[in-house]
Symmetry: C2
Subunit: 348 residues, 2 copies
């Protein structure tokens, strides 16, 4: 028998139906060729092709080498939002309400290596990427026309990415996205009722129960949420309360990089380099210091297509219990080599 579980952060329901894992799949494989080269002549993100991207806005240099870089941030060549226009609402009609597509859409090129993947990068490289995220976030939040900045990463064709070279994206928008509106509402409601942060309370409760915890470090907790929307959905939550990723102490990025890399490594090993989406869920730029929201990272492996029922109704059907996948992920971490998964092996 399947279960319906409520996600306490959105108050939506998820169906967890392990029986459905037996469904036939005719999924095409490939597309992203197996084993891409270290450098690809036609890739706009590869070193030497810097002129194929719009003017760089941030760079992590490689010490001692003038033109080399460890990471770059550039505007998207196919930006969904641009700096043209204003935030004025146009039309004024009740049914046909719009505004200019104003905003910023940037790409964080995570490494010069075409065939790298975050799961296998060094802790230092991941930390540099996270520092680039935070740097751009904190620069862009100062522009008053943006209400919301989202940072996300798509890995593999099923995640919706069109490029192989490891990259993340940042979108600064003049409106709060509906998913986050709902999350903020639910968290505010909890805070208003209990005068405590929903996520702080959730962490306490998850740590007490333990069954869904993958790892606990000094500053972060990795777990599989009770109402996981997809199998192996993995959340990373900082123990210290900060509504905004922008205000997370930069000194925590070292540990965050370890925890993120180790999480991705376990998913890489457990699921065989799965396609995935990664999102940094953070407060609106106008509410960075609020007491009710608590930034975190969501990693959603994309093992099956998002189907008609999910699209149509908003109810996800998952085929694995988070208690089972959390246990498996811990086993993978435990069987790692001595110099791997260092953050998960911390004694807290």
């Amino acid at each position: 028998m399947s279960e319906l579980r409520e996600d306490c952060t959105t108050r939506d329901w998820v169906i967890i139906a392990p029986e459905r894992a037996k469904r036939p799949h005719n999924r095409p494989k490939g597309g992203l060729a197996d084993g891409p080269p270290r450098w690809e002549r036609s890739c706009p993100f590869c070193p030497g092709n810097e002129s194929q991207t719009p003017q760089e806005v941030f760079r992590v240099p490689l010490p001692g080498r003038v033109s080399a870089w460890a990471a770059r941030v550039v505007p998207s060549r196919f930006a969904a939002l641009t700096l043209d226009g204003t935030t004025a609402r146009i039309g004024g009609s009740y049914f046909f309400h719009k505004m200019d597509g104003i905003g910023v859409h940037e790409v964080i090129i995570e490494t010069p290596l075409h065939n790298a993947t975050m799961a296998l990068m060094s802790y230092q490289q991941v930390e540099e990427v996270l520092a680039a995220y935070q740097q751009r976030y904190n620069v862009l939040k100062k522009r008053r026309q943006f209400k919301f900045i989202t940072i996300f990463k798509s890995h593999g064709w099923a995640s919706g990415t069109s490029l192989v070279h490891p990259h993340s994206q940042l979108v600064a928008a003049p409106i709060v996205a509906p998913y986050y509106r709902r999350k903020f509402d639910v968290a505010f409601y909890h805070y208003d009722n209990f005068r405590r942060c929903l996520y702080c309370d959730l962490l306490t409760s998850e740590l007490e129960r333990g069954a869904r915890i993958v790892a606990e470090t000094k500053q972060f907790v990795v777990f599989h949420p009770y109402a996981s929307h997809v199998p192996w959905e993995t959340w990373i939550i900082p123990k210290e309360h900060h509504a905004s990723f922008g205000l997370s102490p930069p000194t925590h990025l070292t540990e965050l990089a370890m925890v993120l890399k180790d999480s991705l490594l376990c998913l890489y090993r457990g699921l065989g380099n799965p396609d995935f989406n990664l999102m940094i869920d953070t407060a609106s730029t106008e509410e960075e210091k609020n007491p009710y929201y608590h930034w975190h990272i969501r990693i959603m492996p994309r093992l099956t297509a998002i189907a008609g029922f999910e699209i149509g109704s908003g109810i996800y059907i998952s085929t694995a219990l988070p208690e089972d996948t959390a246990r498996l992920m811990k086993q993978i971490a435990n069987s790692c080599a001595e110099d791997e998964c260092l953050s998960f092996k911390q004694k807290v």
Copy 2:
């Protein structure tokens, strides 16, 4: 420059960025083989393999032939929800709230022909499928434990389907899905403010403007919504107000079948047999006669993967203006053969 448009039925925003249509795509093709056979030995939905599905719950017989059928409805072999259990909420914890996965999950096998597709079926065959939808809907709504029944169709691999043989699905659930909760809220708010149905008002407004109308028939309007979430998103709305598809007059199914088939035919021609999801958006079973909601059909072509930004934020990025795609779809209808697209050629 792109545009941000608000969907007046959900109050979420969509980014319409035609520039992004130029993005490179490495999308794998195939999976669902081109040109499947009329009959497939291993397909559980093909005639002769009836014993491979659970016990049939409804059948459209073929007149004059005892064991033959034009359409069948069977429980899903991989049901997300089943009749086991109860609707009692379990756990009682604020964070870990759940219930049994109680419900019904059925498959509507639309035709005995393995390689058929609704866009190319006869009007009569489509009408029989719609009648099967309505029949099952009206039987299942009588069970008090179900609050919500959704009927949907997934065509092609990108839509999330795992089987080629033309089929639709029905899910009866004990809770209202979050997408619909929001739609009902927004419609109720409009009704409470104006004492008029949001969708009746929207239809009036769309018909006045005309730019997004694909076809108007005696009983239905086909249009591309102002804030289309994907390119060529197509809505079919009945002119007569009914909150529930279950209460739509059975006499209207004849015209609905023509309008639906003609819409799918135009998409088939315009986009080359695109993958798509189709949803019947209808009131909750407890509110079938309410004055504020208005059932309708949404067709969402799946030309690109639902990507990280959409999944993460709920903001869709579309690459086509609905005014442009509606005009193209009208042109396709106008260039049809004399005996095609009959409903679109009606004089109203």
